[in-house]
Amino acid sequence: MENPYLPYPVRIDSVVTETEDRNLKTFKLVFLNSEDREKFIHRAGQFAELSIAGKGEIPIGIASAPTEKGYLLFTVNKVGVVTSALHQMESGDTIGVRGPLGNCYPWEQMEGSNVVIIGGGFAFTTLRASIVYMLHPDNRKRFGNLTVIYGARTPGMLLYKDELVAWEERDDIHMHITVDAADDPNWKYNVGFVPTITQETAPSAKDAYAIVCGPPIMIKFTLPILSELGFPPERIIMSLEMRMKCGIGMCGRCNIGTEYVCKDGPVFDLAHMSRLPNEY
């Protein structure tokens, strides 16, 4: 019997410090066993439990796209016991990965549609996976217009800066990068909160899905704007966070009403969420 609690051993291949506050690092992980690598087939929007022996496990969105083969990327904010220990680790160290877990963004449903991606702060990880996935030559023609609105507090707090710049230069994706404030006179992108930029860019709701990930305050002010723009609740997609342990719907803590965020989520559309008790 397969043991769903047993992590696959992985080696940290590289560590990149993403932000100027040094609180966010991206870990590139490679599987120690090739059969584990072949078993780990994920889709953008799913997460995994990162396991550090002696410290515990943390549920983290998978930042690499399924089209990026042979490794996994996780961008981790330093918050508690496990993330602090992980931030101390270096390339060559062994940790564990358990997954992929949870559902993904509704890729079958979104096929043929325009996709608007709205992200804030460090909740951009599975959105990066989604963008990389959709931009892959095999997939790009399966989606219509691609619009990205991504904001952080300052330019130095944006994740994946090199990729953001590269996407800016492409003509098959409309990028709207923004920061709350910038003291860099050479800052050539937007200044303003994500909801404001969403209102200004006013992406069309016609044949479009919006995927929204960010801090609660950003979500709170962005949702009414999407509704005004004509996005029905069934086409506003969100990913939730919850304290988790097992990640497989058994340990009982991450529920919102009948739904376990780890197994039935983390991706829910707004219509589904509005049917659940307001307890998240």
Partner: protein
């Protein structure tokens, strides 16, 4: 109806023969409480209890269970790699389990043995265990199993049922597993009409003694959000001190935590019972807590058992009517009262 009878005086001989083939767990009286323990001799068993103080859930889901082991020795090529720990899953018997508690295992199967994931320890323990039940001749004033789909002589979830019929036990074999178990011990005689009459009379008497009942038929049709937002939660939670004893004694409370423990460079990952009564249960790393308030936690426990579980699995409530939480709650919160509030909302 009884397949066999065994004289009460022969029970020690039966248990001894079971011990030749199985690990046997049975009610044992210790320090004023009767609880399930592994026995090594028949005379340890005490069947004078109404029900055990703790539910037998720890036999399937131990209160603390080691899952994996690892070394932190950096000179080892296995540093940081988790390995499964060998466990004893040899055949065993739980003797003397009440029908309500046997039903709780069936309900928990829905959580631990799913089409997507199977909890290996739960599944292996379930597979290796034969459940020999003991019917309840004298239900307690807090028992309400008959109104939540079980009963003092229900065979749901059991492999064999023993019924105390005076000088003898009437034995009903329920499953093939039970039959195989019994064929190994070769004990007992054919039942007579007199046994059947005796069984019928204890069953009738037990049902008369069953004074408590709950209403649950409206729960499925109640609106989840209306129940969630109901005013009565304020009254229900008022006296609660979040001690968690209800979850501790409950046969259908299965929530657990996972923790790592390290000693001198070696460690284990283990899981421990946890409870929705505790604020840490849902505290995010960011400091945000979706169930920071006592009311939210009390509501979660009852909503989970009597609404979310009902809606998710469509097999009724996650309560078997054992009444342990009613007996043990230090502030007299009574789930039978909460049943009524939830079932009758809007009526």
């Amino acid at each position: 109806m009884a397949d066999k009878i065994i004289k009460k005086a022969d029970l020690p001989a039966l248990l001894s023969r079971l011990l030749d083939h199985y690990r046997v767990y049975a009610p044992v009286r210790h320090q004023g409480m009767t609880n399930f323990q592994e026995i090594s001799a028949a005379d340890q068993v005490d069947l004078s209890h109404v029900n055990t103080t703790l539910s037998p859930k720890s036999l399937m889901l131990p209160q603390s269970e080691s899952m994996f082991e690892f070394t932190l020795d950096r000179t080892s090529d296995q540093v940081g790699v988790l390995r499964e720990i060998e466990k004893d899953f040899s055949p065993r018997i739980i003797f003397g389990i009440r029908p309500c508690d046997a039903k709780s295992f069936q309900l928990l199967d829905l959580n631990f043995d799913t089409p997507t994931y199977r909890d290996p320890w739960w599944v292996k323990r379930r597979q290796s265990t034969t459940l020999i039940g003991l019917g309840c001749n004298d239900p307690c004033s807090t028992c309400f199993c008959t109104s939540v789909g079980s009963g003092p002589f229900s065979t749901d979830g059991l492999d064999i049922l023993f019924i105390d019929a005076g000088d003898e036990f009437a034995i009903q074999t329920v499953t093939e597993k039970g039959e195989q178990t019994f064929s190994k011990v070769e004990i007992g005689a054919e039942g007579s009409n007199a046994t059947t009459d005796a069984v019928l009379s204890v069953q009738e008497r037990a049902l008369k003694l069953m004074k408590s009942a709950v209403h649950s038929k409206n729960l499925k049709d109640q609106d989840e959000k209306a129940l969630f937002e109901a005013d009565f939660w304020d009254e229900v939670q008022f006296g609660c001190i979040n001690c968690g004893v209800c979850t501790f004694v409950c046969p259908t409370c299965w929530c657990f935590d996972i923790q790592d423990e390290v000693h001198k460079g070696n460690g284990i990952r283990l899981r421990n019972w946890d409870a929705c009564m505790f604020p840490l249960f849902t505290l995010h790393g960011s400091g945000h807590n979706p169930r920071a308030q006592k009311l939210q936690r009390v509501r979660q426990r009852f909503m989970h058992k009597l609404k979310y579980f009902v809606d998710k699995y469509d097999v009724g409530v996650a309560c078997v009517g054992c009444g342990r939480c009613v007996q043990q709650c230090p502030v007299n919160i009574d789930i039978r009262h909460v049943f009524r509030l939830m079932n009758d909302l809007g009526a």
